[in-house]
């Protein structure tokens, strides 16, 4: 997110006929220009609002519109809304503060000793989103023949959804997908994902097993799958789990991205309340963070394995979460899971449980790997990394490397089996 240009503006949500009680006025918000910004021209209210960029919220509620307004037009817009008797409220508070802090943070990290190469990067610590994005670009620059970056979409707040593609060339090779950080508070996962990326480039050409996998298949790795949430865990609430998209008519923000997939959507195992940590969202794939992956998976068409990584609980899980009906490949997935966690335990003795989601942890509907499995991606797994509750989400940084290393052994078991069972 370099080259951030900050303008002062008012960010306003306009509601048609709904009554709404919101906070008072006087809060100034900002937008970002450049590739991180996105807005759509709205043709209605053209006479008064033609000078404004209007951003249509992608929901089914036609009465709700989000408008970004330049500061110089603030009074005009307010007067217009009041004249037209349109209810409005300020959606994003302290956005100026947020962006000031983010800018300051990026400047100060630039002043601090920023790693110049991915060899200098400190894998044994937790990093900001800016650090991780910089790492991704470094890795691509250092390994142009192996690594590329694909932007599969944008988060709600306009952050890029970056996927690293590890490929030895060819077209439409079968692929393996790994994601970390879909729940933003699970920091050991983004940290492990960063280490996995470096591990892949280090081992290609040196480790026979990994080299064989990459010669046959591509690996896709999305490290910060929920960037808005991740940013929020650094600046405001370490325990934030969901996306940061507001919910119309509610003061509660965010949807659980692991209940938002079109698999058993609407069934037990997710909440229909926006204030809940397991809120499924207004409809399946309503979150851009989810929809971007859905679109990627469908357009790729040849993914053979899909691994979504969470923490904590120390478990390796396969479908289903939304139903007790065993998936048709349960026996094979169960045996492979056993092998994977045995390999994992071989390093430090870390003990994992494994099984289907619904048996091992709880009923959960709208989950990622239930959807990917139903798309035909047989080797669909979810990890819950360390620990089992003593530190929980705030795992000490000195456990990042052991966690990443042991988990890698399990991933290798899954990837090798996938390679051996793919044409």
């Amino acid at each position: 997110m370099k080259g951030l240009l900050i303008l002062t503006a008012l960010f306003v949500a306009v509601f048609g006929k709904e009554t709404f009680e919101g906070p008072g006025l006087g809060l100034i918000c900002v937008w970002e220009t450049g590739p991180l910004c996105w807005f759509v021209d709205l043709k209605c209210h053209s006479s008064s609002l033609s000078q404004l960029d209007v951003w249509m919220e992608t929901t089914d509620l036609p009465t709700s519109v989000d408008i970004r307004v330049p500061f110089t037009s603030l009074q005009t817009v307010k007067a217009f809304l009041e004249t037209e008797d349109i209810e409005y409220f300020i959606m994003i508070k302290d956005l100026q503060v947020m962006l000031d802090e983010e800018k300051e943070q990026m400047l100060s990290s630039a002043r601090a000793t920023a790693p110049r190469t991915s060899d200098d990067y400190d894998y044994s610590n937790y990093h900001t989103i800016a650090d991780i994005y910089a790492f991704q670009d470094m890795l691509v620059a250092e390994n142009p023949n192996l690594v590329s970056k694909i932007v599969i979409g944008q988060s709600y707040q306009g952050r890029p959804l970056n996927v690293l593609k590890f490929s030895t060339g060819g077209t439409n090779k079968p692929g393996i997908w790994l994601d970390t950080g879909i729940h933003s508070r699970e920091w050991v996962t983004q940290a492990s994902g960063t280490w996995f990326a470096k591990k892949i480039v280090t081992d290609y050409g040196r480790d026979a097993a990994l080299t064989a996998i990459l010669d046959k298949m591509d690996i896709f790795l999305e490290i910060v799958t929920n960037p808005d949430g991740y940013y929020y865990t650094h600046t405001s609430n370490r325990m934030w789990r969901k996306t940061r998209k507001p919910n119309p008519g509610s003061s509660c923000i965010g949807t659980d991205p692991n209940r938002n997939w079109d698999a058993g959507f609407g069934g037990p195992g997710a909440s229909d309340s926006p204030c809940s940590e397991t809120y499924r969202g207004p409809k399946a794939h309503s979150e851009s963070e989810v929809k971007s992956i859905v679109d990627f998976v469908k357009s790729h068409g040849n993914l053979q394995a899909f691994v979504s990584i969470h923490s904590y609980s120390q478990m390796l899980l396969y479908p289903y979460g939304y139903t007790r009906t065993p998936c048709k490949d349960e026996s094979e997935l169960h045996n492979l899971a056993r092998k994977a966690i045995t390999d994992l335990a071989s390093l430090y003795g870390t003990s994992y449980r494994y099984g289907s989601i619904i048996n091992t942890i709880y009923q959960a509907s709208g989950g990622t790997i239930d959807w990917t499995y139903n798309q035909g991606i047989k080797y669909s797994y979810t990890f819950e990394l360390r620990d089992t509750g003593r530190y929980g989400f705030i795992l000490p940084a000195n456990q990042i490397l052991p966690t990443a290393k042991e988990t890698w052994l399990a991933l290798m078991a899954i990837m090798e089996h996938t390679k051996d069972n793919t044409n």
Binding site: S236, M239, P268, A270, R324, T360, Y362, G392
Partner: protein
């Protein structure tokens, strides 16, 4: 010196497979599943989940890799903490195995890296019915007292009982999982105190851990008990909610940990915690 107790609930495999941990629920329809805030009643699925619990009810056998065993083990963990926990003894369950009659407790001293194992057997009863009612646990342990934390506890007690230097702290662990060594006993005390609430709030559809000590403040020593106000964050795994509680906690080596008052804090959507920028 810090002592940490890890409970290893070992149910050794024997021919007939009698379980160590018996989980019984009251007769009649199960509670918890269809009352869980996250569940949307759909007849078919409710039937299915009820079947699982009934299987447990009738046979008393817990499949150790399925979630009922883990939830039950966590409840036993909370119970043991309320009985035996201290600033230097914080008990954790780590694994459940299939089989019978013996449960293992491992004690690990972080500084000497030694370990002592003991054994617990536990019986757990989830009462059913309308009002919120705490599970009932009976557990007997051998070897739990092999870990001698008396010296550290006494030193800690003497250090803090004079009220001329009251301690306080916040965000323990911090965002990066770091705990200052001087804060560690207060962190552990917070975990033990939280166990009183977690035990009381537990049912078949919950799994609680303490996520963080938001802050604690030492109060004047009264009746030879160290006294603290604690604000803790609990993580409930099934709903994934972070639940805030305030506690009034006392402790002394003789009396152990007691929780005098608890107060649930409302989930406040607009008041986010300040960023953990320290460290």
């Amino acid at each position: 010196m810090g002592w940490t107790l890890f409970i290893l609930l070992v149910v050794l495999t024997v021919v007939h497979g009698n379980p160590t941990m018996t989980v019984r629920t009251g007769s009649g329809p199960t509670v918890g599943f269809d009352q869980h805030p996250n569940s949307v009643p759909l007849g078919e699925d409710i039937q299915t989940t009820t079947e699982v619990v009934e299987e447990v009810m009738t046979t008393g056998v817990l499949n150790p890799s399925h979630y009922p065993a883990r939830r039950a083990a966590t409840v036993v963990q909370h119970y043991l903490n309320t009985r035996y926990g201290s600033p230097y003894r914080w008990i954790f369950f780590s694994t459940v195995h299939s089989g019978s009659s013996e449960v293992g407790v491992e004690v690990e001293d972080q500084h000497t890296l030694g370990s002592v194992s003991g054994q617990c057997s536990a019986e757990l009863f989830f009462p059913e019915g309308e009002g919120q009612s705490a599970p009932q646990v009976q557990a007997s342990c051998e070897g739990l007292h092999q870990s001698n934390t008396t010296a550290q506890e006494e030193a800690f007690y003497q250090q803090h009982r004079a009220s001329n230097n009251l301690v306080s702290g916040n965000n323990i662990p911090d965002s990066y999982g770091h705990v200052e060594p001087s804060m560690k006993p207060f962190w552990q005390l917070g975990g033990v105190a939280s166990s009183f609430i977690m035990l009381r709030e537990s049912n078949e559809s919950t799994l609680y851990n303490m996520a963080q000590v938001a802050n604690f403040t030492q109060l004047e020593t009264e009746k030879d008990q160290l006294r603290f106000n604690y604000h803790v964050l609990l993580h409930e795994m099934i709903s994934q909610e972070i639940i805030h509680w305030k506690l009034l906690v006392t402790w002394s080596p003789e009396q152990g940990v007691q929780v005098l008052q608890t107060e649930l804090q409302p989930k406040c959507h607009h008041c986010e915690a300040p960023p953990n920028t320290t460290n």
